[in-house]
Subunit: 389 residues, 2 copies
């Protein structure tokens, strides 16, 4: 770095402090869906170069400093995993789940400009931001107790808007309870109401990372009837940089390509310059884990989740999880504990997510903290629950 | 990485091949606006952690593994550089220039839903993709020979649509010739036509990285009258991962915050999860270069650009550049050369961009290649130009 000085002592201290702080915080994450057991040090050498997977990953570029070949391999891995038709899919590696959701909704809007979007009330708030940005009309649908979309309410609501094409934004793992909307049930509603113009986008941000390896496996993928899917890369696989994969039916993407062709480009990605480092991370993880490794990792997470449910219930804190979910839900605990363990709360509930890297020991530490806090807490209900035991 | 195997021999070879390929390609970049002289190895240790600057950088989060404090410092640096009103700006670090442009246009649409967008025909194609996504009506304006917007055509066209609020998407450095639209001249058109409802977004992707350090400095920043600005981080400063900064007038952002408040969030960023590593890179670069280092780096680029113009003209290849620009424009050269030196072409013209890291020696190598090719080329016009000399 010519014309640059070494970092000042003060700045070095600030950096070291940040490092120590981040390290400590990583040791007490329990409420966020991020894997912590990754190691990409073998790839750091690529950070010397201005890597950029600019534009459509499948269209050649004059810019040679890219990891496009690896990106294509990653996409192919996920297309198979999600049972997309061979040769019938298209996609790219995004900057995170939200971008993939926006892309899916954008495609849906281009196909059905006059459609109504339906999503459950458990949907992540970023989706409403996306809908606002894309200027798409939408209706929120009630959820069942477990966070899954209420199919009856969905049926009734679509029935009242039968004149409009239907776009369903389905959650394959809601943020709070990791509930999965059942694509086959949704499709049976369309059949019942003779809806022929519809589009289903699956937001599989966290759960899409592993649910293909579980038995039973939810009805969520291309063979089950979706049109597009977004999954995060930094969640189940793990990455120091947010990333994700969006996959869509190729025929849909081709139609959008036509509609932007007057611009003189066939690049239908949302961004121009694109991260070429995260595709490399994902490629590396896929090569090193393989299907077998991902399956073992999944089983381990489910094991820890089962352990956590039992541990919480044992001390009188009623906890539960959806079938084959790694998210454990329980009543909100005192704020200081939520802060320390970085637990997000919503409507009097909170959760831990048993991501790769989280062990029974970390669950035990939280349980100890809960017991300790309960014995000193002024919050009566909280006291009561624990003391009842 | 538990449950992971070591990389297979085949995969290791593929990775090593990629490394060698990227290294070689980096040595022959001349046509893309990416700095190559960065070194962030001191920061690689942060890649062990699931860093995420989720949501609005100025709103506290329960997620602690972030570099928000550094992000705020970076934003403050650029807000001062672009003469934003103290306390009157807001912004965040994006995944690249396009995202910042989309954010600026989104804000403009929220403020003036019935406006017409004007942009010059030299505008990057991603902007039209953004306008399509945001569903905003727009008109392309003619450009002058040097790539700058034709103020007369802009004046006439706005005059014919005086009933609509005006959104101008201004280029501070076009992709091909690095032409800068003059914000003061644009504002004088508004004054002349008594347009009171207007919004100016500045796309300063490359040029915004350094033009504040040149004399004369183009009319392009908040004091000159813009409402929002997008600049890339991976271009002039340099980064192995695309990134950028978007800055907007705080009052505009607050209005958008109100319009999405029904969603129950004050997070107005487009994405949810956000990269926390690139803010650290930018922070590090700012600390190490300082204003003085950036100024010296700028002068060096201008020096190489001046050298290139002279070197091309000396061999009979007519080359020119805009005032204080580091982009040198000349007639398209044979395809094999464009491929080797990664030069993008448009309408019979091509360019090199004298980014930090590019030296006179690299220019000399290109000149040698041109002479060598000319002596063997079957392309008559090309031959003619060079042989005339």
């Amino acid at each position: 770095m010519r014309y640059a000085n070494a970092l000042s002592e003060k700045d070095t201290q600030e950096l070291d402090q940040l490092y120590a702080n981040i390290k400590a915080k990583t040791a007490t994450v329990l409420g966020y869906p991020v894997a912590m057991d990754f190691d990409y040090s073998e790839l750091y050498r690529f950070l010397q170069f201005p890597v950029n997977n600019i534009g459509d990953p499948f269209i050649e570029s004059t810019y040679g400093i890219s990891t496009r070949a690896m990106e294509a391999e990653v996409l192919d891995f996920f297309a198979r995993l999600y049972r997309a038709e061979q040769g019938g899919w298209w996609g790219y590696i995004t900057n995170g789940g939200s971008e993939g959701n926006m892309y899916g909704l954008y495609l849906a809007r281009e196909l059905y400009p006059k459609a109504m979007v339906y999503y459950s009330e458990s949907t992540h708030y970023s989706v409403q931001k996306n809908l606002h940005l894309l200027d798409m009309p939408s209706i929120a649908i009630r959820t069942k107790e477990n966070g899954e979309i209420d199919y009856e309410d969905l049926h009734d609501t679509i029935r009242m808007n039968r004149n409009m094409p239907v776009i369903v934004f389905a959650n394959i793992g809601t943020t709070m309870t990791e509930a999965r909307d059942d694509i086959r049930k949704i499709k049976s509603i369309f059949k019942d109401l003779a809806i022929h113009h519809y589009y289903i986008h699956a937001d599989a941000a966290l759960t899409g990372g592993y649910c293909s390896y579980t038995d039973p496996c939810p009805a969520f993928d291309f063979e089950d009837g979706i049109d597009s899917l977004s999954v995060s890369g930094h969640k189940f696989i793990g990455s120091p940089i947010p990333c994700g994969i969006v996959l869509v039916k190729k025929s849909h993407r081709d139609r959008i390509a036509n509609s932007v062709a007057y611009i003189g480009t066939v690049d239908t990605t949302i961004t121009g310059s694109r991260n070429g480092i995260t595709p490399l991370f994902l490629w590396y993880a896929i090569k090193r884990y393989g299907l077998e490794g991902f399956k073992l990792r999944t089983e381990r997470c489910l094991q820890v989740a089962a352990y956590a449910v039992e541990a919480f219930n044992k001390i009188g804190l009623a906890a539960w999880r959806n079938e084959q979910a790694i998210t454990v839900v329980f009543a909100e605990i005192p704020k200081a504990l939520c802060l320390k363990w970085q637990l997000a709360s919503d409507n009097g509930r909170t959760h831990i997510i048993c991501m790769p890297g989280i062990t029974e020991e970390r669950i035990d530490l939280l349980v100890q903290d809960i017991l300790l806090t309960a014995s000193h807490s002024k919050e009566e209900t909280f006291n009561l629950i624990i003391k009842q035991k």
